[in-house]
Amino acid sequence: MSISGPATESPPNNQVAVTGVGALCATGLDFERAFKALFEKRREPTPPQRFDLDHPTTYPVFELPPSPLDREDKRQPWLRTSRLAVAAAREALQDAGWGDGNGLSQLKVGVCIGTTVGGAMNDEKFYRDFLAEKNPDLKPINRYLRSNPAAVLAQVFNLHGPQLTVVNACSSGTDAIGLGADWIRSGLCDLVLVGGSDELCRVTCNGFISLMISDQQPCRPFDRRRSGLNLGEGAAVLVLESDKLQKRHQPTPQAFILGYGSACDAWHLTAPHPEGQGLRQALQLALTDASCKAEDISFINAHGTATLNNDLAEGKVLKSIFPQTPFFSTKGHTGHTLGAAGALEAAFTIGMLHSGKIPASAGFSELDPEIDHAPTNGTKDLNGGLALSQSLAFGGNNAALVIGLDGERQ
């Protein structure tokens, strides 16, 4: 089998069906449990349990509950990031009616996964031994080389389509879904596994603490007293299917990716443009792509990291473009899962469209007068079947997805 460039220049139909969802994060080891917990008041970030940090104070994180995924074994000889991605993909394929994925090898199936940690060689033990001239064994290098998340999913499910690991920092998961949907639209693939995955590790914890954007308390997105993010870990995978494949496979689409927009601030390495210039552009592109207007959107699953800069820029944009639309951040429950964040939030967005309810923005209690726009402060019933999920990232990347329940609206 070989994969060529896209078959068509003008996509006949922008809608791409989501037929399966799988997710795991601090709130639960499968999508149902992870989603349900968003509507509970309980949230319990703790100091990292799987590794130590040496700081004068503790910085809580949202770690996965203990599970067999904590262990690398012969069947899963990959970095934790890829093991999480595999777990989410298995659940998503089951959910889509593909069982263990056996029927996929004869189809044009692609994999598009976002990550940050999963793309970096940063084994600290190996490096310490290297510095000490102990001639370290290459096992960690081999593990890293075979752990590319997209390649691992392709290997596990015997897929021969395009493989793409997106490393756009915190917008990776959203971008991966948008790019994978494009593969369906253009006829490049019959089915694509899209999503994101990231593990907690010392490098990212120390990195975000060094930038002084980590909170020592549970994070408070959009709140006046917010003081930074809590890191988290997790993975989410969606199964996207072409119209043609759906006719054969006859799944029940759970939602549709209707629009995708991506734009760059071209402003600063780590800070967003103060007026959210790139985010505005990405949102406009996503709405245009979905042939809808801002007032059609019933809620927004915001990026809402709880850093001063992100929430200020994002809040300003939301207030000016969507002054009446409810918005919230789920990071108060999951932590910031970096490359997985956009995918987890897209998965949650689908769950909310189905349940007809959106949650309170966990951690918010006091309006920031500079933002002057408050997220949800309690569970709300939904009106409408269209939603936005958006991500901002290091590097000035911005990405937005329009997700709908009804694929025929276009």
């Binding site: 070989s2 994969i3 060529s4 460039g5 896209p6 078959a7 220049e9 040496d54 700081h55 940050t116 793309g119 970096a120 600290e124 490096y127 290297f130 510095l131 001639n135 290459l138 290098i141 075979r146 590319n148 390649a151 290997q155 897929l159 021969h160 395009p162 493989q163 793409l164 690991t165 490393v167 756009n168 920092a169 971008d175 790019l179 494009d182 253009s186 490049l188 010392r202 490098v203 120390n206 990195g207 975000f208 603490i209 060094s210 930038l211 002084m212 991506s262 734009a263 760059c264 601030d265 071209a266 402003w267 600063h268 390495l269 552009q281 592109l285 290091f394 590097g395 000035g396 990347n397």
Partner: protein, 364 residues
């Protein structure tokens, strides 16, 4: 797929910076001498030839003050990107241009420098500057900021498939009309850890039972560099470097029929690939070139292959680095060139497909 017009090329490698330097190296007018780096492994010290790239030329384009916080990885990427824009005559960019940066390993030297700060000074004194530059998309951020590229921005990492996946994404964006032009490139760097791993893998290979397999093409040593293309849809005007007309990720080698479509088929042994399938010799019209002698072996070598093919099409001359390095003239004026980068498909790594593409200068 829609053909992509190649309108500018920005190469940076051990051969120098810019297309003239690449061309001179392809012609054999310029000898590239690798630096010998001392590597210590469990078998003692080794002198590893390393093909390093200089970014000195960047200072003629951008003020030194603006480069203060950029690491070597981002500098290589920025230099390649600037050269591709300059080659294409582009100055005004903006939101209708997309940016794609592919890298197999990212800013690995900076990642290890960040670990140095943790190991030497402790967790609480980890360097924020090194951390932010170690993030995989830092290079794309610097390019976007400098060139004011506000369109879609993608950094990707897919091992040796990084370059074809970057090109595939460019095709997608242009076909859908998301952008009008794409600055699409790749970058990878050498670091001490990579040198150690390279030498250690070589040591292992020498003692393994299959050491003779593929031994006719020993890797010359690791390299580093960047290579960017300025791409657009074919709009009826002539593209100086031809058109990317076919892009395939294959799990098998090209068959004779496919190979016959592209005359000649350039088979370049770029990255750390010393174990190509032996059947390649059965393909007619196969022209083997070895770009690793001018840029070393690196996982983004596929970008250098395409640049070499595009340059040869532009010049209507084949530059074959045979012992005499004597350029050959193409057999006929209207022709296409295929590039194929072989890769071993093994049980352990069954998913790494081969890349194969064709450029055709005169068809459009």
């Amino acid at each position: 797929m829609i053909p992509l017009a190649i309108r500018g090329i920005g190469p940076v490698g051990a051969f120098g910076a810019g297309l003239n330097e690449l061309r001179a190296a392809l012609k054999g007018e310029k000898q590239v001498v690798p630096e010998l780096v001392k590597i210590k492994t469990d078998r003692g010290f080794h002198n590893l030839p390393v093909f390093r790239a200089s970014t000195r030329a960047l200072k003629t384009i951008i003020k030194s003050r603006e480069l203060r916080r950029l690491d070597h990885f981002s500098r290589m990427a920025l230099l390649g990107a600037c050269l591709a824009c300059e080659d294409a005559g582009q100055t005004l960019i903006g939101e209708r241009t997309g940016l794609i940066v592919a890298s197999a390993y990212g800013a690995s030297a900076t990642t290890f420098s960040f670990l140095d700060s943790v190991i030497k000074d402790g967790d609480a004194l980890a360097s924020p500057t090194l951390f932010s530059n170690s993030v995989h998309n830092a290079a794309a951020a610097h390019i976007a900021k400098h060139l004011k590229i506000t369109g879609p921005n993608l950094s990707l990492s897919q091992g040796r498939l990084s370059v074809p996946m970057a090109l595939l994404t460019a095709v997608q964006w242009l076909a859908e009309g998301r952008v009008d032009t794409v600055l699409c490139g790749a970058v990878d760097e050498y670091c001490d850890v990579l040198g150690y791993c390279w030498q250690s893998f070589l040591n292992q290979k020498e003692t393994s039972s299959d050491k003779n397999q593929g031994s006719y093409l020993k890797p010359r040593g690791p390299g580093e560099g960047s290579l960017f293309f300025w791409l657009s849809r074919a709009d009826g005007t002539s593209a100086p470097y031809g058109y990317l007309e076919k892009l395939e990720l294959k799990t098998t080698m090209p068959n004779t029929q496919e190979a016959a479509c592209a005359v000649p088929l350039i088979c370049s042994f770029g990255p750390d690939n010393d174990n190509p399938e032996p059947r390649i010799d059965q393909i007619n019209n196969l022209l083997k070139i070895d770009l690793s002698q001018i840029c070393g072996s690196l996982p983004i070598a596929a970008a250098f292959d395409l640049a070499a093919a595009a340059t040869m099409l532009c010049d209507q001359t084949l530059y074959i680095n045979n012992p005499e390095n004597k350029p050959q003239t193409l057999p006929f004026p209207e022709t296409s060139i295929g590039c194929w980068q072989p890769d071993s498909t093994t049980d352990r790594n069954p998913l790494t497909g081969n890349c194969y593409w064709i450029t055709n200068r005169l068809k459009l």
